[in-house]
Subunit: 214 residues, 2 copies
């Protein structure tokens, strides 16, 4: 097996809080014990033709392994999980359900959370910002209410820790500063459970080193 290379920002806008999307890919690589290389790119270089050839939307992370180039964290993490044991159940039905949670994290839970982030980052200076924020917060809250009801008192979303939990935990982390995550104690505990995993700690430390050096 060759060693894959991922890209990450030379200086993440979050200053190393682990919210940049390379963190979730690092976490998956750590969970399955796959060594990897990192190539750092600047914010400007991300929008240049060389990087756009790897990632049409000019973002990080990308994943390169020999001839194969992938983007989108869902695809990269699924690829990692398929190559090495540890993140996907062997039973076919359990595997399909785990994949469902990965899509749920990206398609149903992340969009309202990103809309809230956009409302603050991109529209925080607009005259409507103050009146609009509660509406957008409620949309994220509604989704978390449903997720909280489904998780109940379980440790993970479906059986043991899986690629679905990895993605969901990383998606939910972005809500921490808003206080909305703490309104759902079982979800806050779920995120904390993910963050307590040794593989997560190694991934977090690795991205922090980049951002501390920067």
């Amino acid at each position: 097996m060759t060693t894959p290379t991922i890209t990450a920002l030379a200086a993440s806008p979050d200053g190393g809080k682990g919210l940049a999307r390379d963190t979730r890919v690092r976490w998956a690589l750590e969970e399955v014990g796959q060594p990897y290389e990192v190539r750092l790119v600047s914010f400007g270089a991300m929008k240049e033709p060389a990087h756009l050839a790897l990632h049409p939307f000019g973002q990080i992370p990308t994943y390169e392994d020999g001839d194969l180039v992938l983007f989108e964290t869902g695809s990269i993490i699924f690829h990692i999980a398929q190559r090495r044991a540890g993140l996907l159940p062997v039973d076919a039905n359990a595997r399909a359900r785990t994949i469902t949670w990965m899509f749920a994290a990206l398609s149903s839970v992340e969009p309202p959370i990103l809309e809230l982030a956009n409302a603050k980052l991109l529209e925080g200076d607009k005259p409507w910002s103050k009146e609009r924020l509660p509406l957008v917060s409620d949309r994220a809250r509604d989704r978390l209410k449903q997720l909280s009801a489904r998780l109940g008192s379980a440790d993970w979303l479906d059986g043991g820790f899986s690629v679905g939990d990895l993605m969901m935990v990383h998606v939910l982390q972005r809500l921490k500063p808003s206080g909305i995550l703490d309104e759902f104690p079982n979800l806050a505990a779920y995120v904390a459970r993910g963050e307590a995993r040794p593989a997560y700690k190694r991934a977090f430390a690795a991205q922090l080193t980049v951002n501390t050096d920067a």
Copy 2:
């Protein structure tokens, strides 16, 4: 093989324009030649415990096959594509790239399009609506610009028609009324190419029948 059952709305808010998400699942089933059953649910029943047991976010479609219950169109369509030939390349690298486009459709292209839809549907009556719409439209436009550049003059995103194209075409269709899709002639042609497929036509007709009878 058993016959899977999907759920769809008894009356779709779009009145049968094919934008409800069962259409993309029907399309995938038609592409691989998988017969299926449909159970119609009302808007109210979607939020009831019986349906929430199948779909934690109270939406359609779901997919049931024996003991297996799936939700999230990404997961359902990937499951369908894995079971029967026609939507996923056999070559491992080509397959991983195809899966990447499926995630790209759902994680990178659909969110700004849905944010635009939300801006109209959920905030169309707000005092900021008129001033805010151009900003939100531009976010969708920026993403389409990148997608258009990557597609170039190709028929499909990566080699032959795949599950990635199926998802991308269905995601882009929602932009048609805004006029933004037509600003990118290669993307408009790409969507038309998808809609010309016999499997799409059968899927569209099937959902239209439900909505015409309703």
